[in-house]
Every structure is written in structure tokens, then in C-alpha cells.
Amino acid sequence: MKKLIKLFAVALLLLNFQFPISNIKAQGILGGHVTGNIQFDGQISRQDSVIGASDVPEKFLSNTRADILYTNGDFSAGLRFEAYLNPLLGFNSQYTGQGIANYFVSYKTQDFAITAGHFYEQFGNGMTLRAYEDRYLGLDNAIRGLNVMYHPWKGVTLKGVIGQQRYYWDTRGMVRGIDAEVTLNDIIKRWNESKTRLTLGGSFVSKYEEDETVLSDINGYKLNLPKNVGATSVRMDLSHGGFGLQAEYAYKGQDPTVINDYIYKSGNAAWISASYSQKGMSANIQAKRVDNMGFKSVRSEGGEMLYINYTPAISKQHTYAFLSMYPYATQVTGELGLQGDFMYKFKKETLLGGKYGTDLHINASLITGLDTTRIGGKGTDGYTSTLFGTGDTYYGDVSVEIAKKLSAKLKLTATYGYVVFNPIVGGHGGDLHHNHVAIADLTWKINRKNVLRFEAEWMGSDSKYDPEDDDKRAGDWIMGLVEYNFTSKWFVSVSDQYAYQDGVGNYYNISVGYTQKATRLQLGYGKQREGIICIGGVCRQVPASNGLTFSLTTSF
């Protein structure tokens, strides 16, 4: 036995010298590559009730994550270590702890792929199934199980999944799904070279859960809960030169859960997007209707976790502080949305284009509730809804952005936005907030190594801060930001957001960062509002915090 092992070791050694590791095609047992990334975020936090940074008895909070990926030809395997000691503000306390949160082995060729362990997957636009993660939001609904993909013919993709969803440090539920997608141009010979391209797809996903006791509102009897709930969808993607049309319709069977208050109404969602674009010009319009389409693998789970499907907001994702102050999230119980986008590039040497050209970007969106009539509570069909009837306004915005290079060294982006937001969506009370926002963003490239950026924002709102309701976004605000970049390596940024009328809060922040290739170190001090922050050349989502923050990311 010992001899055998010895022989094996020698063979391995020889193999390793025989086939240099740099040559991945060698497929030696020891060949292949290890890559990965590490991220560490720490906070030394002080309580600040004004900005919503809660008391932190342990003083220091940190999230760590390391992904290690081993690839050898068609084979790959990965491990992820996560530690939340204790979790950063904004992350669920159930993450507290550390360990291996994700592992998988995968074999993938051009036509076939199989993954066992944790995986992320999406069918179509995700209306029936989307296992995804957003590390900055603390969302991870990876499925642990088996994922198979197969291309029987060119243009045909079949997928199958089965598994349980991640729930913090545990897995819950049971999800099964299949998906098929066909690009007709690839299977119909006559259409091979056609300018018109058509892809069709469909999926079926079901979840299984054991029975439990939930009492009806009507007679107090125990509800007869379905153990298996299915959802299905059909979709299309049509394009012809600059024209594009995409649509998806999804339907879900009776699925009484805590998010729809245990009603038996079926769910559905429809989405359509039409666009036209040519070089220097584009227009896109999208419409969406969602009706009782929250699909979770555990019926009693009310939080952010265990969603099987994904019905994204169709409003534009703004990244300037005051425009993104009201991030809109789809109301899965029911909403109607419309969104339009228009981009135009005024050419160089024209009246509006000037010497360098001018970019114009207009966007508008409106999202409302459905027009519903209540039938009853738990155990009933809940409500009826009309197809195009609208209910309360949830969110609306119009923004106009003009980006212009003023000279070889100066670039200006000026934005005006109007945002209407219903505080109910964010869990607050009161009337609609109507906000006007104006933003100027100026980049001054002093020379090749020194770049300064200035950002000034103003928000005028009809909302007033109410201590009882405690919506910290209310009121009139101003903001200033100065960022200095020395080469692509160093940056310092100083910013302040101040409620000058009818609001509370003063969010001052100073950040210093150092980037060397794919390693980035950032240190910040001050108060931070929850939201997307784009400084020092990257964008990331951050939680509300007060104190010292430290962040390190590296990829290798």
C-alpha cells in the first residue's frame, strides 16, 4: 500500500515537471489554476439616532468574504468563506458567525454543463426563477443542489435545477425547475442569415413544502395549504437591426403565503420592452404589471430571503445621492409600471454639439398600485384586480441629463430630476413626497496624473421631517463633494449632505483610497446614508453608518 502511494506521489511529481503548469491544456492532475478574491469591510461604529445608525455594543463590526476558484480545463470547483463578526449595519443579524457558505464542483464543455453544490441561475428575466446574490445588500439565495445545462443542437438551450435555497447559514425549501430556449434563426436554415432574429423560451418551476397550521379568517378552520406550487412563464426576444422587442409572461398557481396574507388568488406578471437604436440615438420603453407574484420557497418567510423569482423595478437605477435617495423596490403583491428612456448624441461641430459633442439622456417612469377590490382575508381569494386600472402612485420620476466635454480638460454633467415617492413603499406614513433635484458634476483633468471632481446637488421637497414617523429623507437638502485623484492609485474625497430646511441630518464624510491593480483599500470617516456611493472610480452599495469604515478588496 505504502509503496503504491509512494509511486503515485513520484508520478505526480514527474507529471508536474513534465507539463509546466502555465500550460492549462496539459490537464495534469496538478495543473490548472487557482484564482480568487477577498473582501473585508469593517466599521467602528457610534450610535447616531439622527441618521439611523443603531447602537453597536461590540463597537467593531466586520464582514469578510473570500472566494477561491480552481479551474482545470472544463473542470472547476469553488469555495467561499464568509465571516460576519458581527455583521455590518444593514445586514441581518442571522448572518452572525463564520464558515464555508458556498461550495461547488462543475464540469462544463461547450454543449453541456453540470454543477453540484451551490449555484446561481436565472430562467429568462428571472420571473419564475432567479438564484442570485448581492453581496452589498446581504442577499444570497444561491441554490444548493444540482444544475444541468445542455445544448442538444445549436440555438437550443435546456436547463434543469433542483435544490434548496440558502437561508443565512442554513438551507430551506425545495425548488425544482426546467427551462428551454430556442433561437429560431439557428434551427431554421432559411432564417440563418436573416436580419430578423427571434428567440423563444419557456420555463416551469415548482416548490415543495410540508403542511403547517394556518387558520382561516372566515371560519377559523385550518387552511388546506398546497404542498406543491408551480409557476410557469413564456418569453420572446425579437430583434431586427436597430429594433428590439422583448416580452415575458409568468403565471403562478395558488400560493397562500405570509407575503400575500395567505390568500388563494393565483399570481401573474407581464413585462414588455421595446427599443429602437442607431449610432448616437436610442429610445426604449418598458411596461410591467405584477399581480400577487411573490414566489418564495418557504411560505412563512416574510423577509428578503428565499425568493425563488425576481421581479425587478423597471425604474432607472439612479446613482447620484439625491436621485437615488428613494430607491424603488418592486411591490410583488401588485403594481403597474411604465418607463421610457431616450438618449441622443449631438454630433461634434454642430450648434448643440459644440467642439466635442453633447450627450442628452432623458428618462421617465411611473409606478402605481393596482386597482383592486377586496374580497376577504386569509383563506379567501383576497381581492380582484382590473387589468389596466391604477391604484395609489408608488413612484414616479423624470430626469434630464446633459453631459458635455467643455474643453480638453473639463467635463460637465448637469442633471435635473423630479421624483415623486410614496413613503408607504419604504414603510413610512404620510403624503407623497414631491422632490426637485438639480446636480452638477464637473471633472477637471488637470494633467495626466491629477484629476479633480466636484459634485453639487440640491433637493427641494414638499415633505417635512416628522419625528414620530422618522423618515430621514424628508426635507430640503444640499450636498457638496470634492474628490481628488492622483493617478489611478490614490484618491481623497470629502463630502457633506445637509438638511437645510424641514429635515434633520448632516452627513459629512471623508474617504481615502488606494488602488493597486486589482487591490483596493479604502478608509472612511463620517456619517453615511444608506445607498449607492460612487467615489474613487467605483460604485458600491453601502449601509447607514457613523464612524470609521475600512474596506479592502482584492482579486487574484
Partner: protein, 168 residues
């Protein structure tokens, strides 16, 4: 017995130490702007260098990077033969806006959509923008996260070296 185990471990570690540049994965599923499904092996440039840039429609620094390079892209191509491949990580919320966004900005890059973020994970991208230089052999020879004006000049200096077959 222990010694043998150690030898194996040491060999494995040595192989990691000697390991050179990782190859860019060629079997990741991506979507083209007209809805076709392709594998990442389509990212090719006849032995010349490739810049792979991960971006999103909503990411300001990404847009600044791609707009800045746009102005010098023709010169870069003429000089080094480099090709820029832009990988959008937009999800269902904004994926249908990627093509209008690319055309509206007048970008002439090869663009793929990585909606399920498989490529992002395989390339260990944490934040966008994240930019890679791939040499003629398909190996990742350099990567950088973040963009500020002026970085593009550092980028092309490196691409020139890679085009000449120099180590960076």
C-alpha cells in the same frame, strides 16, 4: 506516510507558486445584444491583445471609462491591434437597456451581457468597473479595478507592451 502526504502537498503548493497567468475562461455562457447565447470562447482577437471591461449601465465610472476610451479607440486599434470587449453585468432590471445604451453612446465595442454574472464570478470581479488585459495566448496578464480620467493612458502603455510580447 506523513512524509508522502507532505510531498504531495508541497508539490501542489509548488505548482501554485510556479503557476503563471491564468487563462480567461472560455466556457462561460454569455448573451449577445441581439439575444443569442454564446460561450466566452468567442472573445478572440487573432493573437493580439484584448481589453475586457466589466461595466453596467448605471455605473458612472464605467461609463466615463468607456466614453473616454471611445475617443481614442481608433488610434489604439491602429497602433496595437487591441480589441475592447465590454461585459455588461446589468441584471433583468436594466439588461434590456444595454443595447440602447451602447448604441446611444455610439460605442463600437464588442458587447456581451452577463446577466447571471457567471463571467463576473469566474473572473473574480468584485466591483465595477474592473478591467483586464488578455494577451495573445488568452492569458490574463493584468487587471485593475476603478477608473479615473488619465487611467486610459496607463492602460494603453501596458497594451503596447503586451502587443510587443513584453512582460508587464
Amino acid at each position: 506516510m506523513k512524509r508522502i502526504a507532505l510531498t504531495i502537498v508541497a508539490t501542489f503548493l509548488m505548482s501554485m507558486v510556479f503557476a503563471q497567468n491564468a487563462k480567461m475562461p472560455d466556457n462561460i455562457t454569455l448573451k449577445t445584444l441581439d439575444g443569442r447565447t454564446v460561450e466566452s470562447s468567442v472573445i478572440q482577437n487573432d493573437g493580439k491583445p484584448i481589453i475586457v471591461s466589466f461595466w453596467a449601465t448605471w455605473c458612472k465610472p464605467c461609463n466615463r471609462e468607456l466614453n473616454t476610451i471611445k475617443e481614442v479607440y481608433e488610434d489604439w486599434q491602429a497602433e496595437t491591434g487591441v480589441k475592447l470587449v465590454a461585459i455588461s453585468i446589468d441584471d433583468a432590471r436594466s439588461a434590456s437597456r444595454v443595447k440602447p445604451h451602447v448604441d446611444g453612446n455610439g460605442w463600437e465595442y464588442e458587447v456581451y451581457i452577463d446577466q447571471n454574472q457567471d463571467f463576473k464570478r469566474a473572473m473574480n470581479v468584485v466591483n465595477v468597473p474592473h478591467t483586464f488585459i488578455i494577451n495573445g495566448k488568452g492569458e490574463i496578464v493584468w487587471q485593475h479595478t476603478s477608473f479615473v480620467e488619465g487611467s486610459e493612458e496607463e492602460l494603453i502603455e501596458l497594451v503596447k507592451k503586451v502587443a510587443k510580447g513584453e512582460e508587464i
